[in-house]
């Protein structure tokens, strides 16, 4: 079980006066202190962990965020930034002595500029909200995490979120131009802007993916892109994981970069088919979903090339979508994968390691062996182009032993990812979930260097304390 640092007793003792102070700094409706209204904030997407916060504030402006941070800094109160709370790694898990700063009321779109291809939005605008605002002109915002209906761009920046289409379009970091950033001292700083590259240190790049360790982002300038003429998907099913992996290598080796390239193993295919009735091949050991973009003729040309490449690997079956509806059907199973697994198991842990794609057959075989060893089922769905695995470990949360085993199984998978040259997290973040595994990927000294960089931004370690960095060996957190 993940431990959190001991709350500071002097802060807990001052709770009433802190709430009163916050209510003076912000409009009355922006401060939450009653237990019943705090309850929704006690966890995020990693619901295995719960902790009631000291207070929650819901500012409407950058200035209000700055006021709260300035106050917390002056009073040495810990702060937990929160977007929509869709983090799957416990990145927004509260601390008992911390003020949660929620972004959901900062949901205005400030400016859209099609000529210069950017949009300026407040940090609480949802990911899909950006695309909705620009799609009338044929534009879109590219990174598309599975939670895109709910997750907020501010949280995307903090986690450097990805999605199914980042093989072609990149992750959040590749689609940002600037942010409004508030330091723990409450200073408001503009980083980047509406131009592509700023000279000097790349603060924008460092902040992106920093999981709330360095400051808070309140406004974001994103690149918007003109969408393709169209897109279409195909399925290719194989009788072994190795062969499916070789087909992926052959597609990329032939110079074809599909806009999405998803891989599902047998348990996942079965779970998704039972849920979505997408016509997935139940006799396959592995299945690829491949999407291409362009005009109708270009789609035909690309799908034809990919079909010819896949044919060399003796697929069990292939299905090329003939229409947008058929494409949607192919995607429906994949997009519902997590929900589908939720139907066949009372609970599951969704892991998020990345591996070099050449190691795929070995890693999937090892995961299968571990599954037998732990006596827990696992379904695998992932972004095959970039090696980002999402093993879903099935367990029963009502059985503490089952949960303990699931956690240990998950940790073993992530360590395996690191051993083969990959990393602990491809898109969900370290949060509290993978915090204590960081020593598997970094040396003690490398971790200390990162902690020192955090200290350069947040000397008092008030920002999202106890996330990302292991508590053990961390002299900066008085546990």
């Amino acid at each position: 079980m993940i431990s959190l640092p001991e709350p500071k007793p002097e802060i807990l003792a001052r709770r009433a006066s802190i709430l009163a102070d916050l209510a003076r700094l912000l409009p009355a409706d922006a401060v939450i202190g009653e237990e019943i209204r705090l309850r929704p904030y006690e966890t995020d997407g990693l619901s295995a962990y719960r902790q009631m916060p000291l207070a929650v504030v819901l500012p409407r402006t950058t200035q209000e965020v700055a006021e709260v941070l300035r106050y917390c800094h002056a009073n040495e109160i810990r702060v937990v930034p929160r977007g929509a709370g869709t983090s799957l790694s416990g990145g927004a898990l509260p601390l008992a002595d911390a003020v949660v700063i929620g972004l959901m009321r900062m949901n205005r779109i400030r400016e859209i500029n099609f000529e210069d291809r950017y949009a300026v939005v407040e940090a609480g605008v949802t990911n899909i909200g950006i695309t909705k605002a620009v799609e009338g002109e044929g534009f879109f915002y590219a990174p598309d995490p599975s939670s895109q209906l709910a997750c907020m761009i501010g949280g995307n920046v903090m986690m450097n979120s990805g999605g199914a289409h980042c093989l072609k379009y990149g992750v959040t970091a590749n689609n940002l131009l600037g942010v409004t950033f508030v330091t723990i001292e409450g200073e408001v700083v503009e980083i980047g802007g509406t131009h592509l590259d700023a000279a000097g240190y790349d603060w924008l790049g460092l902040i992106t993916g920093s999981e709330g360790q360095l400051g808070m982002v309140t406004e974001v300038t994103v690149r918007i892109l003109r969408g393709p003429e169209g897109a279409r998907a195909m399925l290719a099913a194989f009788d072994s994981v190795e062969v499916a992996g070789k087909a992926v290598d052959a597609i990329i080796g032939a110079g074809v970069i599909p806009v999405a390239l998803e891989f599902m193993d047998k348990p996942c295919i079965h779970a998704c088919e039972a849920f979505a009735h997408a016509g997935y091949p139940l006799d396959a050991e592995a299945m690829l979903i491949i999407e291409v973009e362009g005009s109708q003729a270009e789609q035909d040309m690309l799908l034809g090339r990919i079909r010819d490449i896949c044919a060399q690997f003796k697929p069990i079956s292939m299905k090329l979508a003939e229409s947008a509806e058929q494409s949607l059907a192919i995607w429906k199973g994949r997009k519902g994968a997590f929900g589908a697994v939720g139907r066949i198991s009372p609970d599951y842990l969704c892991m998020d390691g990345t591996i070099p794609t050449g190691e795929l057959p070995f890693v999937l075989r090892r995961i299968g062996e571990m599954s037998t060893q732990y006596g827990l089922g696992v379904a695998n769905v992932f972004h095959a182009g970039d090696g980002n695995l999402h093993p879903l470990i099935m367990f029963d949360a009502n059985d503490p032993e089952s949960f303990r085993k699931a956690e240990a199984f998950g940790a073993d998978i992530l360590k395996l990812c690191v051993e083969v040259g990959g990393c602990l997290t491809g898109e969900h973040g370290v949060g509290v979930e993978k915090r204590d595994l960081m020593t598997a990927q970094f040396t003690a000294r490398e971790l200390d260097l990162q902690r020192d960089i955090k200290s350069a931004f947040d000397p008092g370690w008030l920002l999202n304390t106890a996330k990302v960095f292991p508590l053990e060996g961390n002299a900066r957190i008085a546990a």
């Binding site: 700083v189 131009h195 360095l214 591996i355 350069a456």
Partner: protein, 389 residues
């Protein structure tokens, strides 16, 4: 000059310099010595001895090489598998008047990106992992060799573009992509810079995946006038189709011609390397990064201030400027870049030592920057003065 043959030697040299509080100029082959501010250091530490590709997996789209590996060597290895450096970094030999090619460490340390930046991202977007030596002589890693990685703070981003002031890069892993099977360009003769930028914005607002969008105010070779150029790189059938569509959709923006693969590639090499700028040896060269729609006014202001030679890339978002190496001209550039960013890319030592070569940072960021610098280089021995006085 110290030029160790391995990373341990680099670490040893930095440790010694740190112990002696002796500043070091950090470089690969020294091709960018005339960029930014002159470094105040008696000794030079070069990574030219750290060469060689250490890992290349074409089907995983990754390549790793030691920092001193010359860029042409990396490009040649990639070309064998029909792949390429995504950011298309400029070859600055002609601009800096040097013979030797740039190294991987130099290009990443300077975050140098070429025309493809507009669609496929900057050099820093493709740095997946680094090994580096900090200012106390410790070796550290960040990132890795996989395409997606959000584990911990991304120090790759911090060191990319830091020009050796936060650490000495010793090995770099990059994402790479297949080369388009073919390519071609649409060349539009436009009335002026403003209409050219509008044409390029229109081109970048089409669904055809334009991977280069440049504006040559003075024409190029036999092509006279103000030219807006849009490039397509893709499968052969797509290039033909997309150029046709592009020509039809941009018909109202000016008289159009199409360039086939060879002519297009030669033209874009020139644009990448800023060759059309053709600065006189005594002139300074700047790079401005702006929202494209602000470029025409910036260009007009520059032309009013001095006899500015101009070349625009990134749909107008990157303005290359050549002009007199004077503080007055530099002041005009700083003013024109307001709301964006600028770099004094090349100039005589006296000018580079006298003026800010980059925009000032907001005070809170400058304070954080000083603390970050002291974390990675507490004695301040790495490339002192390179970025700021």
């Amino acid at each position: 000059m110290i030029a160790p043959g391995d990373e341990a030697g680099v670490a040893e040299a930095v440790r010694a310099a740190h112990a002696a509080r002796e500043p070091l100029a950090i470089e690969g082959r020294g091709t960018k010595r005339a960029m930014l501010r002159p470094v105040q250091a008696a000794r030079t530490l070069s990574t030219r001895g750290l060469t060689g590709i250490t890992l290349y997996r074409p089907t995983e789209l990754v390549i790793s090489a030691r920092a001193g590996t010359p860029i042409p060597e990396i490009e040649a290895a990639l070309a064998e598998h029909n792949q390429q450096l995504i950011a298309e970094p400029p070859d600055t030999r002609a601009l800096f008047g040097v013979e030797e090619p740039a190294t991987l460490g130099g290009v990443v340390g300077a975050n140098l990106s070429g025309p493809r930046r507009i669609t496929w991202g900057a050099m820093r977007d493709h740095v997946l992992g680094i090994r580096a030596v900090n200012g106390t002589g410790e070796v550290f890693r960040s990132g890795g060799r996989v395409l997606k990685n959000v584990t911990g703070l991304d120090l790759c981003k911090l060191l990319t573009g830091a020009h050796g002031t936060l650490g000495v890069l010793t090995e770099i892993t990059l994402k790479v992509l297949p080369r388009g099977e073919s390519s071609g360009s649409l060349v539009l003769r436009v009335a002026d810079i403003a209409s050219g930028v509008r044409a390029l914005s229109a081109a970048l607002g089409t669904p055809y995946g334009v991977s280069g969008a440049a504006l040559l105010p003075e024409g190029h070779g036999a092509m006279q006038g103000c030219l807006a150029i849009a490039r397509i790189e893709d499968f052969a059938e797509s290039v033909t189709y997309r150029l046709d569509r592009l020509r039809a959709e941009l018909a109202a923006h000016g008289e159009a011609a199409l360039l086939g693969r060879e002519a297009s590639e030669a033209l874009w090499r020139d644009i990448r390397d800023a060759a059309p700028l053709n600065p006189a040896p005594e002139e300074a060269v700047w790079r401005l990064s702006l929202a494209p729609s602000r470029a025409p006014a910036a260009c007009a202001a520059l032309r009013q201030a001095f006899d500015a030679k101009l070349l625009l890339d990134w749909g107008g978002g990157l303005v290359w400027v050549a002009g007199p190496a004077t503080e007055a001209a530099h002041g005009a550039v700083m003013q024109a870049a307001a709301g964006g960013s600028f770099t004094l890319f090349r100039g005589p030592d006296a000018l580079r030592a006298a003026v800010p070569v980059l925009p000032a940072e907001p005070l809170p960021l400058a304070a954080i920057g000083a603390r970050v610098k002291s974390v990675l280089d507490p004695a301040g021995i790495l490339n002192p003065g390179r970025l700021r006085a």
